[in-house]
């Protein structure tokens, strides 16, 4: 197991190197001069030269790449050209929201998708099955941003003045503040402390933060703000998970051991849960792992619709503003996250199915 893990990590290195190379090339090929993009069209040649020198843009491209590689290996993503702040700091500010949104979406998708898939496999060709599959097919065909806009229209405008009203944008109602847990607990952590970025990262997940500080007002408000984006974001993964669960269950339910279990007189619920579902789980877990990519791409669209300042929206803004360091840093982190998610899925196989040997 350990050996396999180490080998898998080593095997990921060429891919990670490729990711760095592609991101670097893309970021450097974005047309337009970053100096003029940041300082405006009226920046003089001298000012631009100094700007290039300050940001290392005057060195030959291979050397720029080597410097960039070295910095990334030491965890330094450089400084945003637009904000003049370290990319890592910006990332730590933006990531909690995207992470919170993504986790809620994948949680909802799994929680609803798997039971629906199992149900439609067990009641194959019944009304439940047909409705679920029509729904799932419609779900994967919907543009995320359209669904988001329609949900916002329905819940924020049509259902206004009803208990079902939900806010169409933002993270908290104006006037409400999520007080970080380390302040509530009086830990004495200040922005100068070494662990500040870490605690601030978790404090920025408003739902988690308000949960551990027992701040029910902020909790209910942030949950309300999160429902619509999470709903929009979870639709496609939900549909994919439901479809995969159904086809995987259908395949398993035809196996001899399922028939044997039934013939032995095992209760149907146990047959489904223990004999069939556990064996159908591998492809389902694989497909859930693959959804992280969909979620990040969806986050770009969802965050821009619901006015959320997360990683996706920042990345999009950075691309249009030619802020290379942010584009590079964020893309690399997202791609690495994707590689890690798939590694975790691979490593989970032996736990789900003891017959799987990793070697």
């Amino acid at each position: 197991m350990l050996q396999y893990t180490i080998r898998r990590i080593f095997l990921s290195i060429p891919v990670l190197f490729g990711i760095l190379l592609v991101t670097f090339v893309i970021a450097r090929s974005i047309p337009g001069d970053p100096c003029r993009a940041i300082l405006g069209e009226k920046a003089t040649v001298e000012i631009c030269e100094r700007f290039s020198r300050d940001h290392g843009l005057d060195k030959p491209i291979p050397i720029q790449f080597a410097i960039y590689m070295g910095n990334i290996l030491s965890g330094d993503f450089g400084e945003s050209i637009r904000f003049s702040r370290p990319v890592t700091t910006i990332l730590l500010e933006r990531l909690p929201l995207t992470l919170e949104l993504g986790l809620i979406a994948i949680f909802l998708a799994t929680l609803i998708g798997i039971p629906l898939g199992v149900l439609s496999a067990v009641r194959h060709n019944s009304a439940v099955d047909v409705v679920t599959m029509v729904g799932a097919n419609t779900g994967v065909s919907m543009p995320v941003y359209w669904l988001g806009l329609m949900l916002a229209y329905l819940f924020a405008l049509v259902l206004k003045d009803t208990p079902f009203w939900l806010p169409p944008s933002g993270r908290l109602t104006a006037g409400l503040v999520a007080i970080p847990f380390y302040e509530v607990w009086g830990t004495g952590i200040t922005p100068e402390s070494t662990i500040y970025p870490i605690v601030e990262f978790f404090a920025n997940m408003y739902i988690l933060n308000s949960l551990i500080t027992f701040d029910w007002v902020v909790l209910s408000d942030s949950v309300k703000h999160m429902i619509l984006p999470a709903l929009a974001l979870c639709t496609i993964p939900l549909a994919i998970i439901a479809r995969m669960t159904r086809s995987s269950m259908l395949e398993v339910l035809r196996q001899d051991y399922v028939r044997t279990a039934r013939a032995k007189g095992v209760v149907e619920r146990t047959v489904i849960r223990k004999h069939a579902f556990r064996n159908a789980l591998l492809p389902i877990v694989t497909i859930i792992g693959l959804q992280f990519g969909t979620l990040f791409a969806g986050a770009v669209l969802t965050e821009s619709i619901f006015g959320l300042a997360g990683v996706g929206r920042m990345l999009f803004e950075a691309i249009t503003a030619r802020d290379f360091p942010i584009v590079q840093g964020f893309t690399v982190v997202i791609a690495i996250g994707y590689v890690i998610a798939n590694l975790v899925v691979d490593l989970s196989y032996p736990f789900i199915d003891p017959r799987v040997k990793l070697d």
Binding site: I26, N137, V140, W146, L149, G293, Y338
Partner: protein, 314 residues
């Protein structure tokens, strides 16, 4: 006389054989419910795209100011649903630039289908060549090609497409190119898998023993085996390509106004969703139906062309 009869016989036999293979496949596809629904939807869409100039009551870019008594972003007026007869009928209302939304949505079908077929066509051609080389020659070329494909697959595809468009500059053509590049790895993998499956089989060795060139073996002997999975993957790929292209246009990176492209139409009216929801609703609905048609057809094709799966599903 006898030779003529023989010729005729062999002709009919050949006709019969090719006919039956095609017919068998088509019948198998048509037996799938999802293929039937998807195929019919797609048929309707293709008809709409072809006959848009005949069906559409207005030109999609015609501004109606001064020509009709209509307001900017006016709600739909349908005579059957009680809209006064003396007012001009606009089934999907009027857009932000005082154009007939219904006509624009109809013309949008042309763009969507064009986007789907060209991007996937391009990706299939490049992916097939890469997959063939990679699977047939193995060794370093295989390693190089497949690792590059792994790198492309390591990025969420829409993000990579956004990044590529930002390099190439916004516009429909560049968006199509970006989506095509991003979709290449899938097809390369599908073709490579098929090549590996058949390249050691007897009919390939026989062809090689007869002195056939590598190119002939690859394209004439091996490639036909990859066609069924390519068709399935391609149909599902068109669905994804249309969704991605619409997303890029929505973000302002794809087709530019006044092009009646659904994603662009949605994007330019997104801030008006609370005041003129119809301008967001209809283009999105159109995207959904088109993508749904390809998804259903792809599902049906997969069930029909892959006997292992169809057993499970039937």
């Amino acid at each position: 006389m006898s030779s003529v009869t023989k010729l005729k016989e062999s002709n009919t036999e050949q006709d019969y054989r090719s006919n039956s293979l095609w017919r068998l496949t088509l019948r198998r596809i048509w037996r799938q419910r999802s293929a039937k629904v998807g195929g019919s939807l797609l048929g309707i869409l293709i008809l709409i795209a072809i006959f848009a100039p005949l069906i559409a009551p207005y030109d999609p870019e015609e501004v109606l100011i001064g020509k009709e008594d209509v307001r900017k972003r006016q709600s739909p007026c349908i005579h059957l649903l009680g809209c006064p007869e003396d007012q001009p009928q606009h089934l999907m209302g009027i857009d932000g630039n005082v154009r007939d939304e219904f006509s624009r949505v109809l013309y949008g079908a042309q763009y969507s289908l064009l986007i789907g077929f060209t991007t996937v066509g391009f990706a299939i051609i490049v992916g097939t060549i890469l997959g063939l080389i990679s699977g047939y020659y193995s060794g370093w070329s295989d390693n190089l090609i497949m690792r590059s494909m792994d790198v492309l697959l390591a990025f969420p595809s829409l993000l990579l497409a956004i990044a590529i468009v930002s390099v190439l500059g916004p516009g429909l053509q560049n968006a199509l190119l970006a989506i095509a590049i991003v979709s290449i790895p899938v097809y390369a993998r599908v073709v490579r898998a098929s090549v590996l499956q058949v390249k050691e089989q007897d009919f390939v060795s026989a062809s090689r023993a007869l002195g056939a060139s590598d190119r002939r073996i690859m394209f004439v002997r091996i490639l036909p085996n990859a066609v069924p999975p390519l068709v399935v993957q391609g149909t599902l790929g068109i669905a994804t390509a249309i969704l991605s292209a619409a997303a890029l246009s929505f973000l302002g990176l794809g087709a530019q106004p006044p092009t009646p492209e659904w994603g662009t139409m949605l994007g330019s009216e997104r801030n008006q969703v609370f005041t003129a929801p119809h301008l967001v609703f209809y283009p999105g609905l159109a995207i959904m139906f088109t993508v749904l048609a390809f998804n259903l057809l792809g599902d049906g094709l997969r069930d029909a062309l892959d006997p292992r799966l169809s057993q499970v599903r039937e």
